[in-house]
Symmetry: C2
Subunit: 204 residues, 2 copies
DNA sequence: GGAAACTCTGAATGATGCTTCACTTCTTCC
DNA sequence: GGAAGAAGTGAAGCATCATTCAGAGTTTCC
């Protein structure tokens, strides 16, 4: 045994991998999946294109990792809010607001996660991601119905609608960024979401 | 002048172009934009790949034409329903149902129009298409508010939400086709849309 | 210092798929 | 029938990238 990675070396490699994922995420948020070539990503991380393959077996694998990390963070945050304190309607309102606020604060990434054209492997991840979002919303809607706060409805459909509606509302402002209107947009969006779920007016 | 196209020849060429667009639409509805290569489209129309360029200057131009035709039909149909007879809430309900029913009857095409990964030129058309959908819905919502049937709200946001919600609800069933549940799905979707716009329950 | 094992590099390779073009086939008109 | 001109063909050309690989540079350990 003439060579064995020292802990420091292992840490260095892991850091390089993390840096690669972080830089790739930034590139994707900036220019979208289709423009994020291996060369562009490698350049932004300050390494050669070939070095990407030291960390990932293919471009698709890197893309999936980028998507999973970013999407996972969002699902975790939303899950925390939706299962936090408060009655179901309050939690739903807060969840919508948190989801939308985070998306508006990092529009490029939100667009990449929600809607940007992507290779099939990422598309499959996106479907799963949306399914998880829907499951979270559907659960709160069900709790709202059980608590008598929301009318009878198919929670899955309402949840799908909420996911799609938020995505659609958020995607368009991507083109014309109006920083000022964020507050009004969030208020309208939340009100719309509560109506969509059938919550009585002026509940939040 | 030794050659001039006869009317019959002109008709034949136009028919060939129409056939090409129709076949391309079918291919796109079947396999999606990314799999619809020039060769595949030409094959399905029974012509050589090179002949496509007799009718369109590029693949992107053909794709845009395919999108515009199909999307235009949908916008026209929805526009007719939304501006037809009945009070605004009734029209909205009927519009949602027509939109959704047509999408469910041709899921492949609906997916291609609403969500499937596509080249940038088609993506730009899609944005415009969604804007037109939103404008139609927003107008009905505004009429509903003016008639005192709907509560005060930002019609554009509700319209965006309706577009996104329908798309999201429809895209998922694409994977698991359950023909039987169409009626229930439409009923739930319409109910959700009316709640979303703030229409009183049991209004349709 | 030096051998062994590993990481990194970046130009070459290879695959995919749009587009072109020299050629063939068809249509028009005298 | 035949010349002129257009449409149709499909294989070659070309561009774009992901991926590979032979060699250079590093790290480890005796």
């Amino acid at each position: 045994m003439a060579y064995r990675k020292t802990p420091a070396e292992i840490r260095r490699l892991e850091a390089a991998r993390e840096r690669l994922v972080a830089c790739a995420t930034a590139v994707v948020a900036d220019v979208g999946w289709s423009q994020a070539s291996v060369t562009a990503v490698a350049d932004s991380a300050g390494i050669a294109a070939g070095s990407v393959y030291q960390h990932f077996p293919s471009k698709a694998a890197l893309a999936v990792e980028v998507f999973r990390r970013a999407a996972g963070r969002e699902v975790d945050v939303l899950g925390d809010v939706l299962s936090g304190p408060g009655d179901p309607v309050e939690r739903l309102a807060r969840g919508i607001e948190v989801f939308a606020r985070r998306a508006l604060e990092n529009r490029g990434l939100a667009y990449a996660l929600l809607a940007a054209p992507a290779e099939p492997a990422v598309g499959a991840e996106r479907l799963d991601f949306r399914r998880r979002y829907r499951a979270l919303f559907a659960e709160v809607v069900r709790e709202g119905m059980a608590a008598g706060l929301l009318p009878a409805q198919d929670g899955e459909i309402t949840a799908a609608a909420l996911t799609g509606a938020i995505g659609e509302v958020l995607v368009d402002p991507l083109g014309a960024p109006e920083e000022d209107a964020t507050g009004a947009l969030l208020a309208e969006l939340t009100a719309m979401a509560l109506r969509c779920a059938g919550a009585p007016a002026a509940s939040a």
